[in-house]
């Protein structure tokens, strides 16, 4: 098997608090193959967005990536790169799009100008040729009438169009990895469907790998190849889309999938996950889900579970799954 495009190992992110530094992301390891779409799923506060920011080395201060962590992209350790080297990777080999296209675009520059800037930064093109490339990019992401829209300002575009422009900017550098943090969360249903289809098409036609950060299993099912579920700063289960959605093994992943309102559940109660996600710093010492888990037993409260392989590509960090698999 060839080397993965992105390999994150034992990522630990800490923030200072009263009693020293607390880890908000704890020992997270991920791999993304070339052209693959990995979805990192979890509820708010689980650390999924911070993981994505850390990969870009954009972790907000006073957050810190601890020394044990390794982030390798295409064979290079991103954590040892100089600031200019990292800047070349950011927006070059790794592109990023966010949830709020309105806050990511410059309100006083035309959208064409902004995409043009991105193109000129990374490609040695004469201005007219670069302009043609911008039009081509806007066309590729489905902006209608791109020649006219070149001169539009962000406030003149709808949310869906702004997200398309963001995607065009990210794709301008022909990235090998696109990090998409909740790219469709702020969009309406009919527009979300358009953007999901666009991301799927772009990834297939350009071979760009995608790290998708989301809380929505519907979005996961539409575009992911593999899925990793995070809870309280740790990955609790990972697997292929088919395996994880059809046969989740970790009680948290199962609870999360069951709590989604589905037509079959009409007239009956939804399955709840008891309680609330504990805040960082108040995480239980062993399995972090144990206090909310209906299946927890003594071992869950004293020993941190290790990964149990369910199949070759499917693993869960759960003592119960370990017993089930080895039974």
């Amino acid at each position: 098997m060839s080397q993965p495009l992105l390999c994150v190992q034992n990522l630990v992110l800490t923030f200072p608090s009263d009693g020293g530094r607390i880890a908000v992301v704890d020992n997270v390891s991920l791999q993304i193959a070339r052209g693959e779409t990995l979805a990192l799923v979890g509820e708010s506060g689980c650390g999924k967005s911070l993981t994505a920011l850390a990969i870009m080395r954009l972790l907000p201060k006073p957050g810190r990536i601890e020394a044990s962590s390794r982030i390798e992209f295409d064979g290079r350790n991103l954590l040892t790169l100089s600031v200019p080297e990292m800047r070349a990777i950011r927006g070059g080999a790794i592109g990023m799009i966010f949830q709020e296209p309105m806050t990511s675009l410059n309100p006083v520059t035309t959208v064409g100008g902004q995409v043009l800037e991105a193109v000129l930064l990374h490609e040695k093109l004469a201005r007219p040729a670069a302009r043609e490339r911008v039009i081509e990019l806007l066309q590729m992401v489905g902006v209608p009438d791109p020649r006219a829209r070149f001169f539009a300002y962000p406030h003149q575009l709808s949310g869906g169009l702004k997200q398309r422009v963001m995607i065009a900017m990210a794709m301008a550098m022909r990235p090998r990895l696109l990090i998409a943090d909740e790219p469709t969360t702020a969009l309406d249903a009919t527009i979300r469907a358009q953007i999901l289809q666009l991301l799927r098409q772009l990834s297939a036609s350009t071979g760009t790998a995608v790290l998708l950060i989301t809380h929505d299993f519907g979005v996961v099912n539409e575009i992911a190849d593999r899925v990793a579920v995070m809870y309280a700063g740790m990955i609790v289960e990972e697997g292929t889309r088919g395996e994880l959605l059809a046969q989740p093994r970790h009680p948290y992943a199962r609870g999360l999938l069951k709590s989604i309102p589905r037509p079959e559940a009409r007239g009956s109660k939804l399955e709840e996950i008891k309680g609330v996600v504990p805040r960082p710093g108040r995480w239980p010492p062993a399995c972090r889900f144990a206090p909310r888990c209906g299946y927890a037993f003594d071992r869950c409260r004293v020993e941190l579970p290790q990964r149990t392989a369910v199949t070759a590509a499917h693993g869960a960090w759960c003592h119960l799954v370990e017993y089930e698999v080895h039974a």
Binding site: P144, N221, E222, I260, P261, R266, L270
Partner: protein, 361 residues
């Protein structure tokens, strides 16, 4: 005085709410955003009616207009036979107690300077419920227990609670004045999915216990399909389709409803099914397209759709505002149109024109 009429709890006819567009130095009115443009709705006691649509379609304004939080510019609203739109603000207050709202962002809905006890008791104070402060505190404790909050925490402030807990506070606050109709405006949209399940279960239980009626305003069709009895689909200020939840999801009639349903991502790993069926973006409600508002995005539009207002086509369980629905109904044999006649079935919703003149007091 009893507030409930025999069948309908709330009737809305021709509701219009518009916001002036001002521009220039003198802030002259240059036009209007017709956020709600002639909405008819009937809500029956004990049902959950979902009002769905994308952002800017006017669904939230409908909810706010019913409570006169935003003053409607036209139309009538009857609650149990009383025309609320003709009442003075003072007289309206009595009826306002019967209709409460739970909003999307519980952080913004709660006053940060009020303790949870005071936030929940505020409505009771306003409507003079409870003999004295002590009795109200007692009732706050009961309500907190009912929504699964520890009553010991009643002297704390909203910021000390999580999003899900704050939404429970908002629900307790709404229930404190014993409403008959609860308007839930995206009440679970800001919550994580596991917390959303808790709140939906709570709302379901409360409805069964207290015989509440819900107007459930949301953009989440998964929640609608799970929770609602009937669905009204809004697009740019108008209701384009209305019917029983099962029928809407099984046989949507309006092209916009079809596009909305096709955009729900599947959770079944065996199929990825999202099909973008609506072209382009939602137009601005300040400049709605001519004729049928949906025609520029519609994949099956006819020439006449851009020229004429679409007809309101009655269906056995509701209505569809599309010329194609009219054709497909005309194509059906004999009894179908007859069964669609207004007032045929007691459970049928009144489509288009009201079947009876709502009583005036």
């Amino acid at each position: 005085m009893t507030l409930l009429s025999a069948d309908a709890l709330l009737e809305v006819r021709g509701l219009k709410t518009s916001f002036p567009i001002r521009s220039g130095v003198l802030r002259r009115v240059r036009g209007a955003v017709r956020a709600v443009d002639g909405v008819d709705l009937t809500i029956y006691p004990g049902e959950t009616l979902a009002l769905v649509g994308e952002s800017g379609c006017g669904k939230t304004t409908v909810g706010r207009s019913l409570l006169r939080l935003t003053e409607p510019t036209g139309g009538n609203i009857w609650l149990g036979g009383v025309n609320l739109t003709r009442l003075s603000r003072q007289a309206f207050k009595t009826y306002r107690q019967k209709m409460q709202i739970v909003m999307q962002d519980p952080g913004a809905a709660l006053d940060p300077r009020l303790t949870v006890r005071d936030a929940i008791a505020e409505g009771m104070d306003a409507f003079g419920i409870g003999a004295n402060a002590e009795a109200r505190t007692q009732r706050v404790a009961e309500l907190m227990c009912r929504v699964s909050l520890d009553p010991e925490l009643m002297w704390r402030y909203p910021h000390e609670f999580s999003g899900g807990q704050r939404q429970r506070i908002c629900i307790a606050r709404a229930l404190a004045v014993e409403p008959v109709l609860l308007i839930c405006d995206e009440a679970t949209s800001a919550l994580d999915v596991s917390i959303q399940a808790q709140i939906l279960n709570l709302l379901g239980e409360l409805k069964a216990e207290r015989g509440l009626t819900y107007l459930f305003i949301t953009h989440d069709l998964g929640v609608v399909r799970y929770f609602a009895d009937r669905v009204a689909v809004m697009y740019l200020g108008r209701i384009v389709e209305l019917g029983k939840t099962e029928r809407i999801f099984a046989e949507p009639m309006h092209p916009y409803t079809k596009a909305l349903l096709a955009s729900i991502p599947s959770l079944d790993p065996a199929r990825r099914r999202v099909k973008p069926m609506a072209l382009g973006d939602v137009p601005s409600p300040a400049h709605p397209p001519s004729g049928c508002h949906f025609h520029p995005r519609c994949s099956v539009r006819l020439d006449l759709c851009s020229q004429y207002e679409p007809p309101v086509v009655p269906l056995p369980d509701g209505l569809s505002r599309c010329v194609l629905a009219q054709e497909s109904r005309a194509g059906e044999a004999g009894p179908a149109p007859a069964s669609a006649a207004p007032g045929a079935a007691p459970t049928a919703c009144q489509a288009g024109t009201p079947t009876r003149e709502p009583r005036l007091d």
